[in-house]
C-alpha cells in the first residue's frame, strides 16, 4: 500500500485513523491474554474511575474527551457487566454518579500488570524510533490548538492567491468595472450621491487629470478590485484614498491589503507626506483594513459625503 507515499501529507488524517485501528485490533486480544473482562473501549472510563471514587457522567466525559452520550452508553454496558454501579447524587438530582463495584475493583488490581507490560512494549517501540511518535502527537496537538488546520490552510490559500493578484494602473477598459464595483457597495449600504456619480463616470477628468491615480487588482485576467488616490486641495493632506472596492467573489485573498499597500507606495512616489480617507464605521471590514494599513482616526474635518462618519490619516515615512 504505497498510497501514502504518493498522496503524501494530504492524507495524514486517514493515516492516523488506520494506525489507530491497527492498534485497537490488538488491544482486544491483549485484554483477552490477561483474562481481564474489559472491552478496550471501556478503558478510558474504567481508568478514571479507578483513579477516583465516584464521578458523574459529564465529569468522566470531560476528563476523557468523549461526548457524554458515549460515556452514558459505555457506563450502561459496564453496569450490565457488574463492573460499575450507579447512584443518583443526593445533592443534585440530575447527576448520575458512577463508581466501581467490588468486581470492578478486582479488575483494577488485575489490570496493573497489563498496564506495565503494554506501557513497556510501547515505550520500547518509541525508544527504537528516531522520531518519537508520542511526543510528535503532543507537539502536533499543541500546534493545532494554537491554530487549527482549517486556519492554516486558509492562510496558505490566501497567500497563494495573493501571489496571483497583480496591481496595475487604470486603463479605460476597466472603466465599466470601476463604476459598477463602487456602485455596488454604495447602494448596498448607502445611496449614491452626486459627487459619486461624476467621479465614477469620468475618472480621467476628475481623478487622473487632476494628478491622482487609480490602481486595479487583476486576478486571472479579470479585474477584482480598485482603489483611487485623489489629489486634495488641502494645506494638511496631499492625497485622499477613496473608491476602494473589492469584488465579493474575490474576498479573502488579501486584495484590499495589496491595493492599500500599492496606493501607499504610489502616494510616496508622488511625493505625499500624509494621506487621508473618509469612511463609515458600519463598514467594519474596511475600517479594520485601514487600521491594519496603519491609518489612525482623526477628527475635525468636514466632508462632502453624507455617508461618512469617520476620518483617518496615514503618515508616510519615506
Amino acid at each position: 500500500m504505497n498510497f501514502f507515499d504518493n498522496v503524501g501529507v494530504m492524507a495524514i488524517g486517514t493515516r492516523l485513523r488506520m494506525l489507530s485501528e491497527k492498534m485497537s485490533e490488538d488491544a482486544a486480544r491483549i485484554y483477552e491474554m490477561y483474562e481481564v473482562d474489559l472491552k478496550p473501549k471501556w478503558f478510558p472510563v474504567f481508568y478514571v474511575l479507578s483513579q477516583s471514587k465516584e464521578k458523574s457522567i459529564t465529569a468522566i466525559a470531560n476528563e476523557i474527551g468523549h461526548s457524554h452520550p458515549s460515556v452514558s452508553k459505555i457506563v450502561r454496558e459496564m453496569v450490565r457487566e457488574g463492573i460499575l454501579s450507579e447512584k443518583k447524587d443526593t445533592a443534585d438530582g440530575r447527576k448520575n454518579n458512577v463508581i466501581l463495584t467490588t468486581k470492578g475493583k478486582k479488575i483494577a488490581d488485575q489490570i496493573l500488570e497489563q498496564y506495565r507490560d503494554v506501557a513497556h512494549a510501547v515505550q520500547a517501540m518509541l525508544d527504537q524510533s528516531r522520531h518519537n511518535m508520542w511526543q510528535a502527537i503532543e507537539e502536533f496537538e499543541f500546534l493545532l490548538e494554537q491554530k487549527s488546520l482549517l486556519e492554516r490552510v486558509k492562510e496558505e490559500k490566501k497567500q497563494r492567491e495573493a501571489e496571483k493578484v497583480q496591481i496595475v494602473s487604470f486603463d479605460p477598459k476597466y472603466q465599466a468595472f470601476f463604476k459598477r464595483i463602487n456602485e455596488e457597495w454604495i447602494n448596498a449600504y448607502f445611496v449614491m450621491e452626486e459627487t459619486d456619480r461624476t467621479s465614477l463616470e469620468n475618472p480621467k477628468e476628475y481623478i487622473l487629470d487632476k494628478g491622482g491615480d487609480i490602481l486595479v487588482a487583476v486576478y486571472e485576467g479579470e479585474p477584482v478590485g480598485v482603489c483611487a488616490l485623489i489629489k486634495m486641495d488641502d494645506p494638511e493632506y496631499d492625497y485622499e484614498l477613496a473608491k476602494m472596492a473589492v469584488s465579493p467573489k474575490a474576498k479573502g485573498k488579501g486584495i484590499g491589503w495589496l491595493l492599500g499597500k500599492a496606493i501607499e507606495d504610489r502616494a510616496r512616489v508622488l511625493g505625499a507626506k500624509k494621506i487621508y480617507l473618509e469612511s463609515n464605521t458600519i463598514l467594519k471590514p474596511a475600517i479594520n483594513l485601514y487600521q491594519k494599513l496603519g491609518f489612525k482616526k482623526v477628527i475635525g474635518h468636514t466632508t462632502p459625503y453624507k455617508r461618512c462618519n469617520i476620518q483617518m490619516e496615514l503618515e508616510l515615512k519615506p
Copy 2:
C-alpha cells in the same frame, strides 16, 4: 484533558483516533472552502482514480487499504453524484470497473490547488515540530509490521513472569506435584509404564540417592514445573534429562526453558560432559524446547520406554 498525561502510552491508540478525528473535522470545511464537491471520505478513492484510468473495486480497496465493501459504498455515493461511472469489465464479468466522469475530471483539476495548500500547511506544522509526526508514523508502522503490538506485549508478559519463577531443589513437599504433573502428560499421550511408576513414586530412592537431582519451578508459591537429572550407567553419557513437565495453566511463561537451563547448570556442576534425553516426536513443543536448549538428535541408543522414538544429546561446554 490531562487524561493522557496520567494514563500514558497505554492509550496511544485512543489518542491517535482522537487526533485523526480532529483533523477530519476540519477536512470537510476545507473542501467547502475550495468549493470542491467532494466528501473527505471520498478522497482516497477519488485520488487513485485521478491517478489512473479505470480500476476495479477490489483493486481500489487494496490500494487505499480499505475493505472492499467500504469502497463499494463510496463508489455508489460518488456515482450518484455523477463523479464516477461504472462499467462491467468485458473480459471478466465479475469486475466492476470504475472511472472518473467528465465532472470528476473537472474536480480533479480544481482540487490541485487544494492539495498544494493542505500539503504546505501540514508540512509547515511538521517542520515546526521537534518530532516529525509523519516520519514517526512511518517508523511506528514499520515496527508494527516487524512485530505486532500483541506479540510485543506477550513477550513483556513472559519476561516479567519468568522473573517471578524460582527454580528450587526438590523437597518432599513437592512429591505429590512431581508425581501428578508427570502422570498427566504421560496419560494424555501414552500409557504409564512400570519404569515411570517406580521413579515417580520413589524419586528419592530412584533418582536423588543414585546421584541425580530434581528441580522444581515455583511461581507465586506454587510448584508449576519439574525436571529431573538422572544418573546414567553409560560409557558415553553421565546424566539423562527426564521427567520434564510444566503445569498447563503456567504455560507461556518460559518455564520449560528456565528448568532446562537450570538442569544444564546442575549437570555442569556435577561434572557432566554430555547429557542425554529421550522423547517422542509427537510432543512438538517439547522437541522444540530441547532444540532451543541446544540438544541435537542422535541415533543408535536403546531405551527402556516404549513411547520414545527420538534421542537427543547436549554437549556441555565448561
